[in-house]
Amino acid sequence: MYSYLLPEFAIERKTERCIKCRVCERQCPVGGHKYDPDFDAMLSYEEVCVGCQRCAVFCPTGALCVQPHQSQYKLNYSWTREKLQDLKKQAETGGVILTGSGNDKPFKVYWDHLVLNASQVTNPSIDPLREPMELKTFLGKKPDSLEIDLSEDGYEIKSELNPNKMIELPVAFSAMSYGAISYQAFLSLAMAAKEMGTLFNTGEGGLPLEMREKYGKNAVVQCASGRFGVDSEYFNCASIVEIKIGQGAKPGIGGHLPGEKVSFNVARNRMIPEGTDALSPAPQHDIYSIEDLSMLIYALKEVTNYTKPISVKIAAVNHVAAIASGIVRAGADIIAIDGIRGGTGSAPKIIRDNVGIPLELALAAVDKRLRDEGIRNKCSVIAAGGFRCSGDVLKAIALGADAVYIGTAALVAMGCTLCQKCYTGKCSWGVCTQDPYLSKRLNPEIASAKLVNMLRSWEHEIKEMLGGMGINAIESIRGNRDHLRGVGLEGWELDVLGVKGAGE
């Protein structure tokens, strides 16, 4: 069948600069460049180009420019180019259209409509370069009261405390499984988390045995619907165990790691035969209701001998506040909420682009609901889904989050360019692939250093912003919506966010 699809990208090759070194040919995993010996020329195959920009970055003479293809259908605001292309693709294949990374549709990004406060005159701002600025964060359940006795050698805590995990800054890496991303990328996240004293999250691909001792203390291990690579040692080597109920990019559905990505090592880690699809069912089949969730939470507490906080990750959906309340009452120590802009290695596009609600609204609603019920201290809240910069992070914490998960930002730091083709397994940057030729492009030493750099810069920025508000400990901004104002938001939006309009 001859394809009627237009190419997505145009490859412009400045022949006067091209030295036919064939770097582009070697760098392109989809065959967008080929050297033709008969004509002694580099040829472009635009129909396969995904716009990852690997060739443009690596071209030693700057001869390449890859940009959206100029060919356009007649302008139509309803029947956009993307809609037409998708229809044609479905007509040619009969398939569900897949995509990768987060929602790219123009939903309102509330972070861009919230502004932060700063001190002027009435209280002093603090200079974070000279004075201490504290970002340490505890994740887990806090008691309502402490029983403290005075004994001979000072005060003694009598209360039994629930396990909490302390992290050095309120930013952790989101769940990305080995299988979805390459071993190198997975390892880089672990190395950076360890260096920065924060957490990485294994997703549901298991934690390779050789990484457990060194990186277990910084690991959140997931127990998800596929139960891949899950056993008691896996739980016990980690800091936090997370039950994955949903993901912002694909609320309500499971996932299929295609057989091509189930390499020898991925298979070993997930404990399934090489080359089979790794199917994660939509629900966890032992959880059909809130009391079943409670059953799994306590099963995990049992298997870890009550030594680890148990987190429950959900996608932000209509009744998220009520659901969150139920999760806390079911015994969870942490709730992670993933909003509509959360990323994915693979999801049906129709789901990614149409299901779920924005994180900002969900987070505000959950925080308020838990406070109204007097149970906010019974769990920590981690916000996830589309954090692009430290400003977003601080706004989330001011809305009520204890910490945030970042996924896409971390991948971008390692090289990702958001071409959204993660599901093909042909990531030219070596991030989202199991092809050894591609994955070795990502050197964990370098990639982890980039991640550390990024987190350090965010850390500095957060301290600067906090200092500006006259705050020197992160706990003082947590849920402190006085330091937020809305701009360009409607009344109902300000109501849900619990934030005043600027100037109010």
């Binding site: 693709k89 479905q90 040619e92 294949t93 009969g94 398939g95 569900v96 259209i97 897949l98 309502d144 596929g226 139960r227 891949f228 899950v230 056993d231 008691s232 040692e233 739980f235 016990n236 299929h256 295609p258 057989g259 298979a267 070993r268 404990m271 399934i272 035969p273 080359g275 089979t276 699809d277 199917l279 069912p281 089949h285 032992d286 409670s294 059953m295 306590y298 099963a299 049992e302 298997v303 001998n305 806390v328 009452r329 015994g331 049906p348 109204d372 019920e373 007097g374 149970i375 019974k378 599901y423 093909t424």
Partner: protein, 282 residues
């Protein structure tokens, strides 16, 4: 409710009122490597604390009586002192019996509820009765023998890797979605209690199955199968497997292997390792 708002706060239904293990001495007797526990009125965590405690005192063969629904029995014995423990349980075992089990042996003289052997890794569970829903869910190693029937979604997403192959043998029949999403493992459904001329209970057998094998003794119609599986005659190699595990089953429940093997066995296999490989547009 003006002024100080009343809030109900949080009550932990699981831990509320649980006694410390040091207060539970009266419920257990340890003698050498043997121990006896009376679970009557013990809460879930109390019983599991106590089991851990008696194991730490050296018990390896433990008899638990008066079990009425306590959950996660065996789960928390994983990895302590690296020892294998034999638990004999009298009563009705609670949900998630042997969840994440890692090498212990549990024998239940009575029925089990939902989630038997949930994500079990190693060990053995023997149920002298029936089991509820989602038995052997995501099981990845070890053996489960259930004398009577099982409920919905049994063996869902069971997996195997190389020579680590979980085995589940069921004496009776099963309800719907049997073997759904199965990715590996050996399941044998014996249908011993089936009335003459009656089919097995289950519909949608093996929906989404992409690995492993289900052996069925007793009649099952094609219409009862999911669309991702086929049903085939067994060959000699299959029957060796069936003989071995039917034998182990018979031995545990005092039945006659030969009598079991006289029935007609067929096998259900996935049509593809990748049942959903072609539903997507790339």
């Amino acid at each position: 409710m003006a002024g100080l708002a009343l809030k109900v706060g949080l009550r932990d239904m699981f831990l509320e009122g649980s006694r410390h293990v040091s207060e539970l001495g009266g419920y257990a007797t340890v003698s050498g490597s043997e121990a006896w526990v009376d679970a009557l009125n013990l809460k879930h965590k109390e019983l599991n604390d106590l089991l851990r405690e008696v194991v730490s005192q050296g018990a390896r063969d433990i008899t638990v009586k008066n079990v009425f629904g306590q959950r996660y029995i065996g789960t928390r014995l994983n990895g302590i002192f690296g020892c294998k423990v034999n638990l004999s349980i009298f009563g009705t075992a609670g949900n998630d019996l042997g969840a994440f089990l890692n090498g212990q042996k549990l024998t239940i003289y009575g029925n089990a509820q939902d989630g038997v052997g949930n994500t079990m890794n190693e060990g053995e569970i023997i149920v002298h009765g029936k089991a509820g829903d989602v038995a052997a869910m995501s099981m990845r190693g070890g053996k489960i023998f259930i004398r009577n029937n099982v409920g919905y979604r049994t063996a869902i997403h069971m997996k195997e890797y190389n020579d680590k192959i979980p085995v589940l043998v069921i004496g009776g029949t099963a309800q719907d979605f049997f073997g759904e999403y199965m990715a590996g493992g050996i399941v044998i459904l014996l249908g011993l209690g089936l009335a003459e001329g009656k089919n097995h209970n289950a519909n949608y057998v093996g929906t989404g199955m992409h690995g492993g094998v289900i052996f069925v003794r007793g009649n099952i119609e094609k219409s009862q199968l999911g669309k991702d599986v086929g049903i085939y005659a067994t060959d000699d190699r299959d029957m060796e497997i069936v003989r071995q595990y039917s034998g182990e089953f018979a031995q545990r429940f005092g039945l006659d292997t030969e009598e079991i093997l006289q029935g007609q066995f067929r096998k259900i296999l996935p049509l593809s390792k990748r049942p959903y490989g072609s539903i997507y547009a790339y």
